[in-house]
Symmetry: C2
Subunit: 470 residues, 2 copies
């Protein structure tokens, strides 16, 4: 971990925009900026106050590269805890490159991925789990992932761990103190209170460990299998969801992104729609490759949506028997997986056909149903609510801490294990020195989460997943 | 042109990055920001000094959207000349959207393309040609286009025009004064000095008008036709150029962009390489569609590169006669177009083969030649220098003003026309009132360039080509 050199990187997304921000951090940040920045408002950046902005020009000897705004942040009142300069230049990739190249020639080094945040951690501006939350925050794509990351970044998660760790540390030192006086057989640590603490710790750890299943699903998007023949309206349904989102997004030109049709944000939660080939035509051929793949995909999903089109019912291609067969195939293999039959294009049905269809669908065992029409918008909201209800996000709604990070999950599991060892040690009245070892081990895993205990390798792994410039 | 409302837009490129900048400008910018920004460092943004930065949180009632840096710029000391707030948030597209949506709910309006710069123009922070240079600067992709845009933005071009306009205006008022005293037959305007001024103006205008041809080519990239059969190494050559560039670019991760193989930056100037199908196989079929297309592409190019591979010579597929025939076809149609024969893969040749080849190529009339090898790097630099030498960029090297904007070119041409009318009017001693009309007309076209004379339509057209957020 070299902290002595001054690093530079583009902090804004690459590409052309109105402006781009180039970030410099380190001991020489202000001196280097001084050597390439000319402003009528200030002669010397070293005399500039922290958190102020200057208008001026970046010059490379006689050549003027750009007119820029330059922000000064002074150690320790900056993101990294070092002297930081941010150059807000015109958003041409060429200009960005020219300025960064100039800074490299003047003695800066290209920042590694996540190196600004790593420095913030090493200077005590953030703990490790907060630093990790920064990366999660940047990649958050919907309300749920944003909320989890924001909560973690503001320390909700690590504060809880830190407080428990401190209490545990307190008991550990008392027990280790007892070891010094072992001949006198004293008990400094109140065993009843200690048991109470261990219970409390186990409760918290269990809750956090359990939250990982929810957190992981939320972070990666909740998988929904869409089972249906081609042309029954799978993409129509996704578009119906998407159009509502688009109406919001298109209002903000410049932030519009390419529609990834199979990843949608519904009610602030990400859903991943997995298209499958359907299972109807494979009635007889059990070893069919298509049906194998469909079942593989269904096994990954949390919810299964069957889609049929109203036309199929009209043309008698689908009837109660065939529907029950299809539902049965899946229900027998995955009895706990929620199934919903969606019938699309219902706008073509006469009132009588509609009644008949509803009667038929009511009689299919093992599944719910919903009539939809992309044309009239019928049922779209209902399907959204269905999906949201299937997902257990109680924790999210109650603003509870949710663990999404595999590293935290591992450390929490290990900490829980050690705490359980301590508990059983207490129950079996094992000697204080053995107890102390297990407590130290538990403390170690707590410390891993917040970064009070960390290795260069661990830090390298964590920050390598960041983008450059953060 | 509504200036009374407060506008907002994302100023950085869309997509995920370490940070993103959201820009707000207008009367309510500070009040609106005040209503969503909480900081321990300041209670009231209206009391905040201009050009200062605050760390704090963007909150939407109870929900915290992000931890941000907020920059305050106060009217008139801002880019637009209005109160401006810049919010530097985490670079998640979701967060960007949430903050912008919140600002829209609080009373901001989405900025139109170029509206920040339009407001800067309307508040007199920039003249029109400088404002146009901002868009050019952002889209500048190499040293040449950057230099031209930078020069224009710093006023080099419009200052010259403004000064001439003022002198002309001075004479215009003297001549119009004469009209008031027409019965007394006085001459306030010194005709000799006036003629001298008109000559000076014409000289400048002619130089600027002439520079447009160069400027236009530089702005759009200098077209180079590459004529050759498949697999002779056309892409090898482009890659050889590209690799050197990549070595520079890859150093700056985050600014690496997708290689557009047929647009390359050589020595700071953009070249557009136009691939053609070759003309060899069409020796007999004159009306061949392929050859027509090739000739069409050659007609658009400034330079023609013929590529052959050393293998073709070895296998006697190409000889002096066939080469002379190919060169002759083009030279007869475009006698002034520079032609260079490139022989690729020369690393496979023995010294004797190499000598023979050189002797043969020396005897091809109407073209230069160059041996190249992507493997050994032979000739790559030489081809670059060849291309740079073919391009007349004397003006660029001498730091002269170059016109690249069609609107300016049109206005300059019209101004020149009117000035010439004035001149011939003077020569023919036409009456002062007719003279005055022509001078007014010339002044009008001058004013069009700098924006002293502008219409809403014109402004709308210019700024519609900007990106949102600038």
């Amino acid at each position: 971990m070299v902290l002595s050199d001054t690093i530079v990187a583009l902090a804004t997304p690459s590409g052309a925009g109105a402006i781009a921000v180039i970030r410099i951090s380190g001991k020489e940040a202000i001196t280097i900026a001084n050597s390439i920045f000319k402003s009528v408002h200030a002669k010397d950046l070293t005399k500039q106050k922290s958190h102020t902005i200057l208008l001026g020009h970046i010059t490379d000897s006689a050549r003027t590269l750009d007119e820029v705004l330059l922000s000064v942040f002074k150690d320790p009142h900056s993101y990294t805890g070092e002297d930081v300069i941010e150059i807000s230049c015109h958003g041409s990739p060429y200009i960005q490159q020219q300025i960064i190249q100039l800074l490299l020639r003047k003695g800066c080094r290209m920042a590694d991925a996540g190196e600004f945040t790593l420095r913030a951690f090493l200077h005590g501006k953030l703990d490790l789990s907060q630093a990790e939350a920064v990366a999660d925050l940047i990649s958050s794509e919907n309300e749920a992932t944003h909320q989890i990351a924001m909560q973690q970044m503001r320390g909700g998660f690590s504060n809880e761990i830190k407080m428990l760790r401190e209490e545990l540390l307190n008991f550990a030192s008392l027990i280790e103190l007892e070891l010094d006086f072992f001949e006198e057989d004293v008990e400094f640590a109140d065993r009843a209170k200690f048991k109470e603490l261990l219970n409390r710790i186990q409760e918290v750890l269990k809750r956090l460990v359990d939250s990982f299943a929810v957190g992981n699903v939320i972070k990666n998007g909740i998988p929904v299998a869409i089972v249906g023949e081609p042309n029954v309206g799978k993409s129509t349904l996704l578009n119906a969801f998407l159009n509502e989102e688009r109406a919001i997004v298109s209002e903000i030109a410049g932030t519009t992104r390419d529609a990834i049709e199979d990843e949608l944000n519904i009610g602030g939660i990400g859903f991943r729609f997995i298209d499958t080939a359907g299972i109807r035509d494979t009635e007889d051929v059990v070893e069919n490759i298509g049906i194998k793949k469909t079942f593989e995909k269904i096994s990954q999903a949390q919810v299964v949506l069957f889609i049929h089109s109203a036309e199929e019912f009209r043309m008698a291609e689908v009837n109660l028997k065939s529907l029950q067969l299809e539902v049965g195939k899946i229900a027998s293999k995955y009895p706990d997986k929620p199934l919903v039959i969606l019938v699309n294009k219902t706008d073509i049905l006469s009132p009588k056909e509609r009644t008949n269809l509803k009667n038929m669908l009511t009689n299919v065992e093992g599944s719910a149903f919903q009539l939809i029409s992309a044309k009239t918008g019928e049922g779209v909201e209902a399907v959204k609510n269905l999906l949201l209800n299937f997902v257990n996000t109680g924790a999210l709604r109650n603003n509870e801490t949710i663990v999404t990070n595999t590293r935290h999950y591992d450390a929490l599991l290990k900490a829980l294990e050690e705490v359980q060892k301590v508990q059983s040690g207490l129950d079996n009245s094992i000697s204080g020195d053995l107890l102390a070892i297990d407590i130290r081990q538990a403390l170690y895993h707590f410390g891993e989460i917040t970064g009070e205990i960390s290795s260069d390798d661990l830090l390298g792994n964590i920050f390598a997943n960041f983008c450059i410039g953060k």
